[in-house]
């Protein structure tokens, strides 16, 4: 983490949140009670019940004294309490859970390795994470106590659902206390009915006359009992109203008369009293209070940036001493009491119309200068100063965050208010990034072009130009132009030297995205070795939320290269790694989304597992091209796999139709072309026109990968060009670095050629070699396609033994998937059905009203009966066998 100035966003603690920003320590602190705080034993006694119920809700109007009550109770508890003050704003559930985990961690709750404590543990809110958290809490002897203050500020409705899930499954291990203005979206009736909830509501929070008298006494005001009662009546016992009336009375010459007059009035309480109290402050203090109302939290320096005067420090300290409006967060950071902040905001807008945007702009500028980028962006957007806001993003080298990472959706939303009137290079860059992320090439390129034109060379624009080349690389990938991608990446290498190193270090996604797009463009052009070099760099990066999507994309591409190299096993394991990540992260679509599934489908076709291939293609289609220009590599490969499946199903016409990817690109892709030609040749061969097929095959300039080359050789042989085919096959077999997908196919070419030449002995020898090799990976397709001549040979004694058990699926062999020997029970089918809906073990248990262990037992026997080891495979196998 880059060293940060403590004066920017408030003191930060170690670790970083999923955005790479340090956690804000102030959000985990149990708020301090002011000197005038009145302890109310009837309420703390009620709160003690929170230790016995899973859920506690302290629910009351703004300024009802909820937070201080719980803070005081927590401080006197004698055991650690995890405290989290929620903030309004753009955080989705990912950020919320990151903060919750950190709050638990800060309170000393041990969490399992890999979750909490490190940003790598928290990608998106992965259900597994919640399940593991609940599991971990469930096993505790003493419950963890978690207070979520200002819970009403959490906008995302799924947060409540997830919280309910964790609470339910944590059992006795978690005591959750929600402090909120509004009723949360949890199934409260259920908790109430089960007496599993402690509830303190507005009515109970209201001050009694005795408590009110106590509060006023702490402000140096002695009131007779009847006066206190009248005041409680007037304010409804509302803590904020009482506190304000005490402050107002304190400042007046005759407090008792003042209060009497106030009691008789009809004004709305907070508004009236606040105006009174603020009105009696010196003008510079009034000005300060009004201006800082646009900020969530502030230190003296930031406040001074808004007032333009150098006196904020003593003024704030003074306000804090008087206990008026300003709350001390520690380390010279303050915030306005939320209720008073809102009302002051209204006063600011009334008194100085038009000043608010200017204040936001000043705040944005100060925060930007002090490196607090997220806050600066928020204020820039609030000021609707898009040039400044876009400038902050670009100068921070954070343009890639619009394309990947947890923040992408939030940032997109932040800029959604940007109208066409905004101008400037940074604005155009943001527009280009948004358009390109939606695959809207025309607009993306137009904006990008405008941005490039308006950025003169020079150190001041280096970040802008680096952002340009990042988007260039994406455009190059989407248009299938490797040269353009190469140029962008070499330009980036030069520009990296012109931007500060700490910025680059904070944005690993920049390099990851550049390399990914370069790798993809190279794959398109059939330059597999160079592509592998670029892609491996990203795939080897440590797990990180901002590089997760490019990493997956690279793994998908590497799997594709492995497939073309004829290494189905390696392709499969890489593709599984890529799809595993996509499934668990959900998240936004990325150009290469679904590529992993496509590679798995191709491997399945090669193994003649056609049902599985079809299921995988359907799965990949879920990530399929949305509106806009499709990703060339993904689309062409989708076409290739779909074509292969049709061929395997014996429908060459459909294959030829499917094999033509609808992509428009700068350069053609050798493997995409070769594949289309192969499909066309297959149709012609099926129609009995070998001459025409040979012509089509002759048109293939470069086959694009060894597997394609071997397939072309096979097609040539079928079209009657034996010599050429055998020569190619011989070369492919001796090249050495190719995988069995290539050698098996090439050996088959030679075997068939030998058989056709009447040399059955050589053909048998070659076939034996091919069978031995193919058996390791259950590579069935080439043999099944090999035609009646080879088939006859395979049926003869020595070869028959080598093919038995795996090639024709005519009996359980060592490598073939075992047949379903035992029927699934009804309960197992129910579990399987829920598994297919991607439910977690815990969810299935809850849904079926059984324990987690019971579900695990069912899962084990499902795996055993289906002969698989993982849930994904179980679902797939079940689909193949029509069990779902």
């Amino acid at each position: 983490m880059a060293a940060r100035d403590d004066s920017t966003r408030g003191p930060a603690v170690g670790y970083a949140d999923p955005l790479g920003e340090p956690f804000l320590r102030t959000r985990f602190a149990v708020p301090a009670r002011p000197a005038t705080f009145v302890r109310r034993p009837r309420l703390t006694a009620h709160l003690d019940q929170a230790l016995d119920t899973p859920l506690t809700m302290v629910n009351g109007a703004a300024g009802a004294g909820k937070t201080l009550l719980v803070a005081d109770w927590a401080a006197g508890l004698g055991q650690p309490v995890a405290w989290l003050t929620n903030e309004a704003g753009d955080q989705g559930p990912g950020m919320f859970w990151a903060y919750v985990l950190h709050a638990l961690h800060t309170a000393g709750t041990p969490l399992p390795a890999g979750i909490g404590g490190s940003p790598e543990g928290i990608r998106m809110v992965d259900h597994r994470l919640l399940a593991r958290l609940a599991d971990e809490l469930n096993g505790r002897d003493r419950p963890a106590i978690l207070v979520l203050d200002e819970f009403d500020r959490l906008a995302a409705p799924e947060t409540a659902e997830q919280l309910e899930f964790v609470l339910h499954h944590a059992g006795r291990g978690l005591r959750l206390i929600l402090v909120t203005r509004t009723e949360p979206l949890l199934p409260l009736h259920r908790y109430r009915a089960a007496a599993a909830m402690t509830e303190i509501r507005n009515q109970e929070l209201a001050f009694t006359p005795e408590e009110a008298a106590d509060l006023l006494a702490r402000h140096g005001l002695r009131l007779p009992a009847h006066a206190a009662r009248a005041l409680v009546e007037r304010t409804g016992g509302w803590a904020a109203g009482l506190r304000l009336s005490a402050l107002a009375a304190q400042q007046s010459t005759d407090p008792e008369t003042y209060l009497k007059e106030f009691e008789a009035g009809h004004s709305t309480i907070a508004d009236f009293l606040l105006a009174e109290v603020v009105g009696r402050q010196p003008p510079e203090t009034q000005d300060l209070l009004l201006r800082v109302s646009v900020l969530d939290r502030f230190g003296p320096e930031l406040a001074e940036a808004l007032t333009g005067r150098p006196d904020a420090g003593p003024l704030l300290a003074g306000l804090c001493r008087q206990n008026a409006f300003v709350e001390d967060l520690g380390h010279s950071w303050y915030r306005l009491h939320p209720l008073f902040g809102e009302i002051l905001g209204v006063h600011l807008r009334a008194r100085s119309p038009g000043l608010e945007p200017e204040l936001h702009r000043r705040a944005a500028r100060w925060l930007r200068a002090h490196g607090a980028v997220p806050d600066a962006l928020a204020h820039g957007a609030a000021a609707a100063d898009w040039e400044c806001t876009a400038g902050i993003l670009v100068d921070d080298l954070a343009i890639g965050r619009l394309l990947t990472g947890l923040r992408a959706d939030d940032l997109t939303r932040l800029f959604s208010g940007m109208g066409p009137e905004a101008t400037g290079a940074a604005v155009d860059l943001v527009r280009a990034a948004r358009a390109l992320s939606e695959h809207d090439l025309d607009h993306g390129l137009a904006h990008l072009g405008r941005a490039e034109e308006s950025l003169p060379p020079g150190a001041t624009t280096a970040a802008g130009r680096l952002s340009c080349v990042l988007l260039e690389s994406l455009a190059a990938r989407l248009t299938g132009s490797p040269d353009r991608a190469e140029q962008a990446v070499s330009e980036a290498a030069r520009l990296r030297r012109e931007v500060p190193a700490h910025l680059l270090a904070r944005h690993p996604e920049l390099t990851a995205l550049l390399q990914t797009h370069l790798g993809s463009a190279r794959v398109w052009a059939g330059h597999f070795d160079e592509a592998r070099a670029a892609l491996t760099e990203v795939a080897d990066l440590p797990g990180d939320a901002v590089t997760e999507l490019p990493r997956e994309d690279c793994l998908g591409h590497l799997a594709l290269i492995d497939y073309f190299d004829g290494r189905p096993d390696r392709a499969e394991s890489r593709a599984l790694a890529a799809t595993d990540a996509t499934r668990h992260c959900g998240g936004r679509p990325f150009p290469g989304a679904g590529l992993g599934q496509l590679v798995l489908a191709a491997v399945a076709v090669d193994r003649d597992e056609l049902g599985r291939a079809r299921a995988l293609l359907a799965e990949a289609a879920e990530y399929g091209p949305g509106p806009g220009v499709p990703d060339p590599v993904t689309e062409a490969y989708r076409a290739l796999v779909t074509g292969r499946l049709h061929l395997a199903l014996g429908d060459p016409a459909a294959a030829a139709h499917a094999a033509d990817p609808a992509v428009r690109t700068q350069v053609t892709s050798p493997w995409a072309e070769a594949n289309a030609a192969l499909a066309a040749a297959a149709v012609l061969l099926a129609e009995g026109r070998p001459g025409r097929a040979a012509e089509v095959l002759d048109g293939i300039e470069r086959p694009g990968g060894p597997v394609c080359a071997a397939e072309v050789a096979w097609a040539r042989l079928a079209a009657g060009h034996r010599e050429e085919a055998v020569e190619t096959a011989g070369r492919l077999c001796t090249e050495g670095r190719t995988g069995l997908g290539v050698t098996v196919r090439a050996t088959l070419v030679r075997a068939r050629a030998a058989a056709e030449a009447g040399d059955a002995g050589t053909a048998r020898k070659l076939l034996a070699r091919a069978l031995l090799e193919a058996r390791r990976d259950r590579l069935r397709r080439p043999f099944l396609d090999a035609g009646p001549g080879i088939r006859r040979l395979l049926d003869t004694p020595p070869l028959h033994g080598l093919a038995a058990g795996w090639l024709y699926g005519d009996g359980p062999g060592a490598d073939s998937p075992p047949l379903l020997v035992e029927e699934l029970s009804g309960r197992e089918r129910e579990v399987l059905g829920r598994l297919a809906q991607m439910m977690s073990t815990q969810e299935i248990a809850a849904d079926l009203y059984v324990s987690v262990n019971t579900v695990k037992t069912h899962l084990k026997s499902i795996y055993r009966k289906l002969g698989v080891g993982r849930r994904g495979d179980a679902v797939r196998r079940a689909r193949e066998r029509g069990l779902l």
Partner: protein
């Protein structure tokens, strides 16, 4: 649709500016905010605004067109 929101107490001129889209009138110790409400979201927004300004809503009703 048009709504009327009754709030306890007399709101100051300044505070009523927090509801620029509504007209207001004070009567017998209450402030009545009334005016067009675009949709549900707007309605809940208005209630939220009352909540965050410490206003006590006494009554809320939809007005006949």
């Amino acid at each position: 649709m048009r709504y009327e929101i009754r709030v306890e107490g007399t709101m100051s001129e300044t505070l009523t500016r927090a509801f620029p889209e509504m007209e207001h009138v004070t009567m017998s110790g209450e402030t009545v905010l009334f005016g067009p409400v675009v949709d549900e979201a707007h309605l809940y927004g208005l209630l939220n605004r009352c909540l965050s300004l410490g206003l006590r809503v006494v009554e809320m009703r939809r007005l006949p067109e």
